[in-house]
Amino acid sequence: MKYVALVYTNPGAFEALSQAERDAMMSEADVYLKEFTESGEFLGEGFALADPSTGRTVRVRNGVPAVTDGPFAEAKEQLAGFYVLDTESLERATEIVTRDPAARFWAVEVRPIMDTAGAEM
């Protein structure tokens, strides 16, 4: 079963860490990535997202596109990155994500990816 792990951070969260904390987190993240790539459960690469203020939001209403910059930083948590796991169960995916250093500082949401396969009932 495939799951996406969505890493949520608070705006400015990374900047708020001390240099030592940042270094520790990066090297921990490397170890994390390596361990679960070797176990064959981490699919491909993870993606870190640029700050939301560098992106755009598109809404098409009645055929008319409305494109806005951002979203700009608000107080709530923002999607900062994601990666995909392929594991036996949600329990196993949860167990893996618990080891993600980002989960210690911020939050990692684990969501099943819908399968295009299905059983008739």
């Binding site: 070797e38 491909g44 392929d86 399968d115 396969a117 299905g118 059983a119 008739e120 009932m121």
Partner: protein
């Protein structure tokens, strides 16, 4: 077909290499390279007179090259003293003119690839590559997983085999039955992966069903007297027989009761029925045989209304006794409802609400919705369909369940 020929030879060639030289990990790579070379050369230059001999020769050359460079590396690193002498892994060479047919080797490979020390994902990947002769990229396509991840699972499996010193021989008689269960379960999982996806854009995944059937036939050829092997093959055939009818033109799922039975595969049904009938008569009862027997009862009904539900109830009762599992209780409840009415089925479902394995499962809600619909409780049926639709992680299932819920909404007006 060159490809079919190569897949048929793959486990035999690998078996003779490992038997002669040990080093399962390197031998498996060497065989893959030989298969690739043959896939490139044979269509152009013609199939050699002794194709198996050709593959063995090429694979042995690759393997000895690899061992030599391995050896050199080892010497360079001056670690030789810490290594187990290579002789320990090497068995006396066989006369290449008199290589045996390799039947036992193939069976040994099945057991090795499904060794309980390996993770299920690794067991599947290794079985498809080492016994099935599939390339890593093909396995990746089939499971919608990057090739690199499959390569990782295979290499991890090989490291575990090496590190645990798992010998290349059949498991001892005392553990053979337990180990065979794992082999069959791996084939069952490969089949399911392909069967559930045999619609829409995922045709490549659907090929896994044919591969699982081919491998199950191979195990049956090697163990013709085992009832569960026959049962599993029968179950696969009787299930796959419905493949063409299980989805409509737009790719949506068609429930068993509404399938166009003209489109079922008659020769698979015939073969499956014969297999399971023979197994039930001659061998000890087992869960695959019973599941195949249930599939056979469905497949033998010319119309859904002709289904012999009382017989299906009896078979589920037996199945629950020898292999209790909430999924079986769920299907049992459907059969009971068909015989005694929806209320009896719903009562049986009530016993599953406390089961933590199933409480959150969309199938429980889906079955309950179905039975409530038959009972005429449309509002409760709709709510159950909607709950099932939210809980499934399959897109076609969600579409089906949403459609059932919507139908009740609009008809209710």
């Amino acid at each position: 077909m060159v490809e079919d020929l190569l897949r048929q030879f793959a486990p035999q060639v690998l078996g003779s290499l490992v038997r002669r030289y040990g080093h399962f990990d390197l031998a498996e790579d060497a065989v893959q390279e030989a298969l690739l070379a043959a896939a490139l050369q044979w269509p152009e230059q013609g199939i050699p007179d002794n194709p198996r001999g050709w593959l063995i020769t090429v694979a042995v050359r690759r393997l000895t090259d690899e061992l030599r460079s391995d050896e050199a590396r080892r010497r360079r690193e001056e670690r030789a003293a810490a290594e187990v002498p290579r002789d320990k892994y090497v068995e006396p060479p066989l006369d290449s003119e008199h290589v045996p047919a390799g039947a036992d080797d193939t069976l040994t490979l099945f057991f090795l690839c499904a060794h309980p020390a390996l993770s299920p994902a690794s067991q599947l990947a290794l079985t498809l590559r080492a016994v099935g002769g599939l390339a890593t990229a093909e396995i990746g396509h089939a499971f919608l997983v990057p090739e690199a991840t499959i390569a990782q699972r295979i290499s991890r499996a090989k490291q575990q085999i090496k590190a645990s010193r798992i010998p290349f021989r059949l498991p001892a008689e005392s553990e053979r039955a337990e180990r065979l269960k794992v082999v069959l379960h791996v084939l069952y999982l490969i089949f399911n992966e392909g069967y559930t996806s045999s619609s829409g854009p995922d045709l490549q995944r659907g090929e896994l069903t044919s591969e699982a059937i081919r491998l199950a036939r191979e195990v049956r050829r090697l163990l013709p007297d085992d009832g569960e092997v026959a049962g599993l093959l029968a179950l696969m055939l009787l299930t796959d027989a419905r493949r063409a009818a299980r989805t409509s033109v737009d790719g949506s799922l068609v429930p068993l009761a509404e399938q166009d039975r003209e489109r079922w595969n008659g020769s698979y049904i015939e073969e499956g029925v014969a297999l399971v009938t023979g197994a039930l008569a001659r061998t000890p009862l087992g869960p695959y045989q019973l599941q195949a027997a249930i599939a056979a009862v469905h497949d033998e009904a010319a119309q859904a209304a002709d289904t012999d539900w009382p017989q299906i109830v009896v078979l589920y009762e037996l199945l629950e006794r020898i292999s209790p599992n909430p999924m079986i209780t769920l299907n049992h409840a459907v059969a009971v409802a068909m015989v005694k009415g929806p209320q009896a089925g719903l009562e049986l479902l009530g016993s599953l609400d406390a089961d933590r394995r199933l409480a959150q499962h969309h199938r429980l809600d889906a079955v309950r919705a179905h039975l409530l619909e038959i009972a005429g409780d449309r509002a409760a049926a709709r709510a159950s369909y909607q709950r099932a639709a939210r809980r499934t992680t399959s897109l076609p299932e969600r579409r089906y369940l949403d459609a059932r819920a919507n139908r009740l909404t609009s008809d209710a007006q």
